[in-house]
Symmetry: none
Subunit: 511 residues, 2 copies
């Protein structure tokens, strides 16, 4: 055989037809190949081999699962959903399969596991490979675990943050001051962003806000905003919105400001490890990438919130301020009350309804949501120089009261693609107080779980509507909260969950 | 609907028919279910949900992968090979799918991640869940990472070792002295076990040796032995072999002496992390479970061996002796030279060939392998009381020289199922010296990598045959080593790897 013919032969030995299996492996790209396929046999691939898949100009590293079975046709490479989306091949396109390049950055992960400090070069190498999708879930888990707790010192956290900024897009708004906010951890119903952005933008500041969808909660800010307007904007559409209105509230995932963070989250979610360094790097890298200069961090503290003590909040807050300074962000903190849900609704549409009530100045609008939003907006107005120190809150209240914030919110929604009607659910179940007394505590985590079982955030109108707050007196039989669901089955499922748990609302019987 | 009918309805909602997908996910049980199946819909399962699968009296915890696609029939639960073997269902058997029970022991893993000490109760809880298959690969990775390096102190290592012994079988040989040996870490070609066991057994000691397959190396002792005789013996067959011959060399995994170790290894292999505590617990738990009383630990030291300095060997050795004492094992150490490969072959069949040459007293047998085996056998003969102190080496040499060891080895192979022929490969490539000089150093790790890329240990005949040793003079063009492969693709791949690396053999040009 000539050299040319041999090379051609060799190329053919490493090609298979792309086939979409529809298997959702969460985000890890997996390729399914028959053990008797020409590629496995000629290359000596076995299960767990890390392989490089190439389709046209796109490539992705995937983990191989070898298959013995006829459901996978001969000559095809079955792709998991993550692999399919990474390659985006035409139907029946050729996929070239080869060994994944050696991952030299794993030596840094090992060094960190063994307790050594990593320098900026090491973090750049690791995060570069992570963002490029070269780490398997196991490698990601080792890296996340090795950095968990307080294992990253200040300079390591700075280096990690810079590395995460470096691999993403970085927006430039051509303005001296660009404000932003972030709320750490879950507090059901805490949708202040949808109020803060229009208030602040109405005062002339620039606030291009990217928000996340729910990861483990019944609604993320992006999910709630999506009830009212499109949020899947690309960077060009986001830019048009901000240039026209001074603000936006879009989904961060579609602008991919921090691609490394998008990857790390896939193991952080199931592992559920607290990691101060990674939290700081995740938050601040996205703010820096969004082109922000001044960032307000809202830290709700409570026994069932993410941050459980004021000391923990202060320690985390210090780290956020220090790392922010190192990467050129001015960070300010507000430690807030995280004892109970904010507003009444928990779930995208129910929360959107609360937001609209506040913006429209309705008499029945939840006052806690309004007060929280005004305090945060006031802080940002002062931070961004739109109000003298001490008068931000007053300015924010004026702008909300006189309808400028509501007008600005409508303008933002229009610019993002049009204001939408809030949907409602057909199936509801009211949960009432078993005894008379006073509401002593509310378990935020279990309440959030009930809202998810009722269908939130997949069914945007589903969730929980809360009717009583801590300290409220209640009569036996008085409604405490209402489950909202899109289907009878989901209502049943959430209702059964609530019935079989200790009460979500603790009622202390009065003497 | 009556309560009874409703309960029946609910039971039916959680059942699917078992279907074997043939997908090899290495060892993690995965269940594939259609997103529109009744179970996903009624239970709210999503991808990555940890579910409990029950088929008849057997159950297993698996990770769910949701599928959109018609290759998976409606109403079936597709099982990965690991899930299929764990449940062993009849064809079309009903599988009940429910949420996996809460894993309380994860709180201990998190505590360890955050740097806290774990007590015996914590290790028992974690290892109990690990051995029962309740940990996903991500949880295993977090645990292994959190215990890596020197993160386990002495009492934690003792507790981990005891916990690992407690979940496995523990053999009882009814004899006062049962000897064993273990070699720490990789030294390519170091197959002294296949020589030590027959020598020691020929002198009347009992040595029921369980060995591992390759984890990250081109051959484990069990892989090499399997070239010569079956090693997948169950405990009854192992017992028959030892009762008949005084020794055996079997695969530890098939007798499941340390089921927790068998599970941990599935993430340790790809992560490739060093962990003193886990190494000690892994080694000693298997020795204790095998019913050993006296254990010789061979610690090869060299710049590219697993243990790189005499100090590191002594520190690890102390830990092995201390933990051994705590669990009732008498542990003795021999620190050996780990500068270069032992024998000539690297890979199961090539190593087996070297072993046979030594046993048969062939003139071309590798002397380094022979000398190493004699020293270790001599130590064990003294440790087990079969030779007075100082005369073990001489006795070992006599038994090897007069053919008693070879006869014993053949008896052991026969008892294990029959002595086999050693296979050879069709594809070979000779790597030669680029310059004349003297061999100054050999990179064991890169050499092992080349042997693996050539196909070892999956292709037992594949690997590397080494033709020169440190200190040998070589001419330019003289063969240094030969790659052996079962397929042209693998030979090509290994050859390309060798060509594009710095030379594996360092040749210092003579003045």
């Amino acid at each position: 055989m000539s050299d040319h013919a041999m090379n051609e032969q060799r190329d053919h030995d490493t090609r298979l037809r792309a086939w979409r299996t529809g298997i959702d492996t969460y985000q890890e790209p997996i390729v399914y190949m028959r053990s008797d396929c020409v590629v496995c046999r000629s290359e000596g691939f076995t299960t767990q081999t890390r392989v490089l898949l190439t389709a046209g100009t796109r490539s992705a590293v995937a983990t191989l699962n070898v298959v013995e079975g006829n459901w996978l046709a001969p000559g095809v490479a079955g792709l998991s959903e993550a692999a399919w989306h990474a390659l985006d091949p035409a139907a029946d396109a050729w996929i070239n399969v080869s060994y994944a390049p050696t991952l030299d950055s794993l030596s840094h992960v090992r060094a960190k596991v063994y307790g050594h400090r990593l320098d900026a070069g090491a973090f750049n190498a690791v995060i570069g490979d992570v963002a490029a999708g070269r780490y398997s879930d196991l490698y990601l888990a080792a890296f996340v675990t090795a950095c968990a707790g307080d294992r990253l010192d200040l300079s390591e956290t700075v280096a990690l943050t810079r590395a995460m900024v470096a691999v993403g897009h970085r927006l430039d708004w051509g303005r001296e001051t660009v404000v932003d906010k972030h709320c750490v951890g879950g507090l059901p119903g805490n949708r202040t962003t949808l109020l803060v952005v229009p208030i602040v933008a109405a005062c002339g500041l620039t606030m291009p806000k990217t928000s996340s969808r729910a990861i483990t909660s019944p609604a993320g800010t992006a999910d709630t905003m999506e009830v009212l307007a499109p949020v899947n904007l690309d960077i060009a559409a986001m830019r048009r919105t901000v240039e026209r209105t001074g603000g936006c509230i879009v989904w961060g995932g579609s602008v991919r400001l921090s691609p490394a963070d998008d990857v790390l989250i896939r193991v952080e979610r199931p592992l559920d490890l607290d990691s101060e360094g990674q939290l700081v790097a995740s938050v601040l890298s996205k703010k820096a990438a969004a082109g922000s200069t001044h960032v307000l961090i809202d830290l709700p503290v409570g026994p069932t919130a993410k941050v459980r003590s004021t000391e923990a909040a202060q320690s985390l807050g210090r780290r956020l301020v220090e790392v922010g300074r190192a990467i050129g962000l001015q960070v300010t903190l507000r430690i807030t009350d995280g004892l109970q849900p904010v507003g009444r609704g928990v779930g995208p549409a129910l929360e959107a309804r609360d937001v609209l009530a506040v913006l429209r100045g309705q008499a029945d609008a939840p006052d806690d949501l309004r007060q929280r939003a005004l305090r945060l907006a006031g802080d940002i107005l002062e931070l961004g120089g739109a109000a003298p120190n001490g008068s931000g809150l007053q300015l924010a209240a004026e702008v909300l009261a006189d309808g400028r914030a509501w007008a600005k919110f409508q303008a933002i929604c229009e610019a993002q693609g049009g204001l939408r009607e809030v949907p409602v659910t057909p199936y509801r179940q009211v949960i009432t107080a078993a005894v008379a007394g006073r509401v002593a505590a509310i378990d935020n985590r279990v309440l959030a779980r009930a809202a998810k079982l009722a269908g939130a955030p997949k069914a945007p109108a589903a969730g929980v509507d809360v009717h009583a707050r801590i300290g409220d007196p209640v009569q036996a039989g008085q409604p405490l909260f209402t489950l909202h669901a899109q289907t009878a089955g989901e209502l049943d499922y959430a209702g059964h969950f609530v019935d079989t748990r200790p009460p979500i609302f603790q009622i202390s019987e009065e003497a």
